[in-house]
Amino acid sequence: MATKTIMCPTCKHQLTIEGKPGERKYITCDNCNTRGVFTFPIYKPVAKAETGPSAIEVKNLTKRYKDLTAVDNLSFNVKKGEIYGLLGPNGAGKSTTIKAILDLIKIDTGAIKINGFDIKQNGVEAKNSVGYLPERIAFYNNLTPIQTMNFFCELWGVDKSIAKSLIKEVGLEEATNRKVGTFSKGMVQLLGVAQVQIGNPPVFILDEPMGGLDARWVKAIRERIIALNEKGATILFSSHILSEVEAVCDRVAIINKGKLIAEDTIENLNKYLKIKPRLEITIPGLNGKIPDVIKGIAGIEAIDVKKDTIFVTCESSVRSKVITTLEGAGYKIDNIKTVEPSLEEAFVKLISAKEGA
């Protein structure tokens, strides 16, 4: 649980709130009743990501399917102990990259190392340190979760006694005696999360682990990823759910059409792209009309309006001027919210910049 002191943008009253990392908290100012939303940050120190030895090294990876180049000369390093996001739209080459890392597909060129072991030369040693959760996971319909886990424990060479506790940990203990063939997609995914932890590997590769799941399962899996990382594991995590990558990852590689577009921390990506926070001001009775008084304020990059809410993109120093100008002109502000730039915005901007180049 984290504690944060924030200032009400309307009356400057200070509020102290509590929440978990990543939690969205709805707040009402004790003083002026202004309502807003605050998301507790879960970013980790950048230093952790940028130093230390690599857990996964990908160098000049290229994979072609006939005329299609799925991955094009891709290189990146995942440092030990970080959560590294592989982000891109469907068909960007994320799953192909992950499969290449695990030697599940034959590559045209490139070199891949896991914990220093070349996946081609020392495949067994390299895989000894990896837990993998594929995008589309399936187990064996006629086996129970315990039998499934026992099988993977044997394959890993660890004591089968951990199977039960892992099943319990992911919340499947009530389904222990059911055949996996009767499980819902979310339950199979959770069994996958239990399976991936067998042998306590130092590196986890998770391909779209929350894809197609409802909010309940997404939350459970996100918490598990964070817990694994807190125990010191390195996690390579691919997704097209931008908010999930944003909430969980230390660094992100953005790929599109098999090529690396950008690689950095989320904060740095946003800085690099100069995407500014957006001010959302709700004034009852606006009806889609932008007040003339703020149109001439210097420093405003963009103004938009939707029904009773104005969206202003500007530097933080300009925000208070916008608010006071509106109040001075007699507008009764109902709510003010500052929305930080999302990865989605960075993603769209990066891709369009690359395509335009």
Partner: protein, 282 residues
């Protein structure tokens, strides 16, 4: 293929056995198999004073069942084992573990082969026990050879379907390959016979039951595992009649020769399966 870990092969084999032995389809077809076997043994005894027929009569009667049902069970067991599991995602999880593809393939072959062996062991074993009880232990022992040959036939088709499954890009294509394999096996004998008649074969001899087949006709069985297996069974039990027509194989078609060719039918497709599986993108 060197440097395999037998323990890992065993782990995969055990999992395959546990998963597939509970398959409803396999269970259903095995029950049908067992019922037909008992009925055949009973019918074979119809021409004698005994309730159940002796080994030879029972074998002739059972042969027509197992050359159809055993390949069918093998194909049902194996078509999905690589193509289907790759498509579903379970194979990528297994291959992300510290295990070699050759170990996975051999484990699958042994595990599915064990499931396949259960059906004739139970089905024919029951008939064998009845024969032992009614006729005597000596004939019952001979029946063990029959069970072994039935398992060999199953392993041949398992090896073939695993090769198809390793090559097929999708589960649907693997099913199509399995169906084609099954029907080809069923019609091969008819095609050869049509060739024989079409090239001036002795039609009259079929009526009298006294056909002297040319040597090339026997040679064609080498490329037909079902016929090859039937020849081995006939040879093992000294049966020289099939569907009322006397069959006298040439001298070179000895029992060791028939066994070696059947062994090659297991090894070569399995080796090809490994080749395709190793090259395959999962």
């Amino acid at each position: 293929m060197l440097g395999v870990n037998p323990k890992k092969i065993y782990i995969i084999a055990k999992k395959e056995f546990m998963d597939n032995i509970r398959s409803k389809w396999i269970l259903l077809i095995s029950v049908i198999f067992i019922i037909l076997t008992i009925v055949s043994a009973y019918v074979a005894g119809g021409s004698t004073d005994e309730v159940f027929g002796g080994v030879e009569a029972t074998v002739v009667s059972l042969m027509s069942i197992y050359v159809v049902l055993i390949p069918l069970i093998a194909i049902m067991l194996g078509f999905s084992t690589i193509a289907g599991e790759a498509e579903a995602g379970s194979l990528s999880v297994v291959l992300s573990y510290p295990i070699k593809r050759v170990e996975v393939l051999l484990g699958k072959f042994l595990g599915l082969g064990s499931v396949l062996a259960v059906t004739p062991i139970i089905g024919f074993g029951f008939s064998g026990l009845v024969i032992v009880a009614v006729i005597g232990a000596e004939e019952g022992l001979a029946f063990l050879a029959f069970i072994a040959l039935a398992i060999v036939l199953g392993l041949i088709y398992l090896s073939l379907i695993m090769c198809i499954s390793a090559l097929a890009k999708t589960r649907v294509r693997a099913i199509a390959g399995g169906v084609a394999l099954f029907f080809w096996s069923m019609i091969y004998g008819m095609i050869v016979m049509a060739l024989y008649i079409g090239t001036g074969g002795d039609i009259q001899g079929f009526v009298t039951g006294q056909v002297v087949y040319p040597e090339w006709l026997f040679a064609t069985t080498v490329v037909s595992p079902g016929d090859l297996n039937s020849m081995a069974v006939m040879k093992a039990f000294g049966i020289n009649q099939a569907m009322g027509v006397s069959v006298e194989p040439p001298g070179w078609m000895t029992m060791p020769f028939l066994l070696i060719i059947q062994l090659l039918w297991i090894i070569i497709p399995l080796f090809l399966a490994y080749y395709f599986f190793k090259k395959r993108d999962i």
